[in-house]
């Protein structure tokens, strides 16, 4: 199996098309493409650090400020969850602890491990690391649940002196922490996981970054083995070929694209 980089090609991560090495903009979908983003790991670490810095005040400041006739309480994330547990609703306490402690902390560890794995090698199989990255990308958004709960509670519980809930400062830091870790996970280029398997041959490494096409002298000839080495894609599942395709082919359309 060959990667686009080994073949001297650049792949578009949005529409899956491939282009000759050095192409900067995908000709199909118009997205910016690069064989590998050399800044990928720097971005990951930068956003990771900011996310971590926001996560600390998110746990120190109160998340909720509950006023009732008899009491006035400020709860941090963990404190609030433990108190819920003491009231007997351990199910909800666990949901909150998982969403606001286990997932964010797990995300910090996994993203750091993935980035270290690229720079200094990893004992985990590439496929395992790929799955970890997909899980981090999928699960990251769900941490926002606690911010939403605070928003719902503080808009709903406004009963004057009997009971009222105000949002605490931690909500802002927690939301920022979630945003930055989401961006950090997105900045990680999962193709780097697989590059360690087969480093690109020296001659192709050079062609990866040959700059804008117009700068090359006109009589240079490229000799990329374009389709050579590409495995044929295998498809699985029931054959439903008689049914209509999801969309008509662009070539057979009634009128041409605008």
């Amino acid at each position: 199996m060959k990667s686009a980089r080994q073949m001297g090609l650049v792949a578009c991560q949005y529409c899956t098309r491939v282009w000759p090495g050095g192409t900067r903009v995908c000709g199909h979908c118009g997205h910016h493409i690069a064989s590998r983003d050399p800044m990928s790991l720097q971005k990951v670490w930068g956003l990771w650090t900011v996310g971590m810095m926001c996560y600390i005040p998110a746990n120190i400041y109160p998340m909720l400020d509950t006023h009732t006739l008899v009491s006035d309480q400020k709860n941090t994330i963990v404190g609030g969850a433990l108190e819920l547990g003491q009231h007997g609703s351990w199910g909800i306490a666990i949901v909150i602890l998982v969403a606001s402690v286990l997932i964010p902390v797990g995300k910090f560890i996994v993203i750091a491990a993935l980035a270290f794995g690229v720079t200094s090698g990893s004992r985990l199989k590439p496929h395992t690391r790929q799955v970890l990255h997909e899980v981090v990308e999928y699960v990251g958004r769900w941490s926002m649940i606690d911010v939403f709960v605070v928003a719902i509670l503080s808009s709903l519980v406004q009963l004057g002196t009997i009971a009222s809930i105000q949002p605490g400062r931690a909500a802002l830091f927690f939301a920022l922490s979630v945003f930055f870790t989401m961006l950090s996970a997105q900045a990680f280029d999962s193709r780097l996981i697989w590059d360690a398997e087969v480093p690109p041959p020296e001659d192709l490494r050079a062609s990866d970054d040959f700059g804008p096409v117009s700068q090359i002298t006109p009589d240079t000839t490229f000799d990329f083995p374009f389709s050579a080495g590409a495995e044929t894609l295998t498809v699985a599942g029931p054959d439903d070929r008689r049914a209509d395709p999801p969309f008509t082919d662009p070539q057979t359309r009634k009128d041409s694209p605008t």
Binding site: M1, S3, L9, L156, P167, L233, T258
Partner: protein
């Protein structure tokens, strides 16, 4: 199969705005168009079109590359329209109301999203939350309909459809309506001992929205849509 790309092919002027010089319809470009690269692991494959309900999976990292569904375009439009209607309706009605000792208060989704406006430092968060819960999901629905409507009617795509689809894909992780719905359930249990809580109509709309988002994610096949958008 080996083919040569001469620079005369590569240095032709771009055929359309934003497109690179390589989009020229040469033999090599056709060769490249027959290839597909896994966005996750960069493995390159010769394309074989899967039929509906078949899936093409990357042999190296097992990422699903292509998964066309029967009449996916029409079904996605239907689901996105439903999401849009539910979002608009759910924004107006209260979704939870509490009452205790004769006092009553109910809150709509926009109330919840704008709950932080009381405090200056948190006010910015209010607008971000309103975006995540209501405006980004609504924008994704509108963009999807804009992209897919002409394709399902066998027309060429509207102007800027590629940009609209890319924007919609960028917004995907930031569309959090379904997370908000789960947040409602957690909030409900949290205040249950403080006051009597009841669901408003918007709560049920948002519950339905959770299911629709899952259905929509299942139907969408990026590859098929990009292919239909043409080049």
């Amino acid at each position: 199969m080996t083919s040569d790309v001469t620079l005369s092919d590569l240095s032709q002027p771009a055929t359309r705005a934003g497109a690179s010089a390589h989009a020229s319809p040469t033999r090599s470009a056709a060769d490249l168009a027959a290839l597909i690269a896994c966005p996750r692991c960069d493995a390159v494959f010769r394309m074989v079109e899967p039929a509906n309900n078949q899936r093409a999976i990357c042999n190296r990292c097992h990422h699903v590359l292509v998964a066309p569904r029967l009449r996916a375009g029409k079904r996605i439009i239907a689901v996105q329209l439903a999401i849009l209607i539910l979002l608009v309706a759910a924004s107006a009605y209260p979704f939870l109301s509490i009452s205790t000792k004769g006092l009553k208060h109910s809150s709509s989704i926009l109330d919840a999203a704008l709950a932080f406006t009381s405090d200056g430092a948190l006010a910015a968060l209010s607008f971000v939350l309103a975006g995540l819960i209501v405006f980004i999901p609504a924008a994704r629905a509108i963009l999807s309909i804009y992209v897919l409507a002409p394709l399902t009617l066998d027309r060429g795509p509207f102007r800027g459809a590629a940009f609209a689809f890319r924007l919609s894909e960028h917004l995907r992780p930031w569309s959090m309506a379904e997370i908000f719905a789960i947040g409602c359930a957690v909030a409900l249990i949290k205040v249950a001992d403080l006051a009597t809580v009841s669901f408003g109509p918007a709560f049920w709309m948002f519950s339905l929205l959770v299911l629709l988002v899952v259905v929509q994610e299942n139907l969408a096949c990026r590859y098929s849509i990009w292919k239909a958008l043409g080049a």
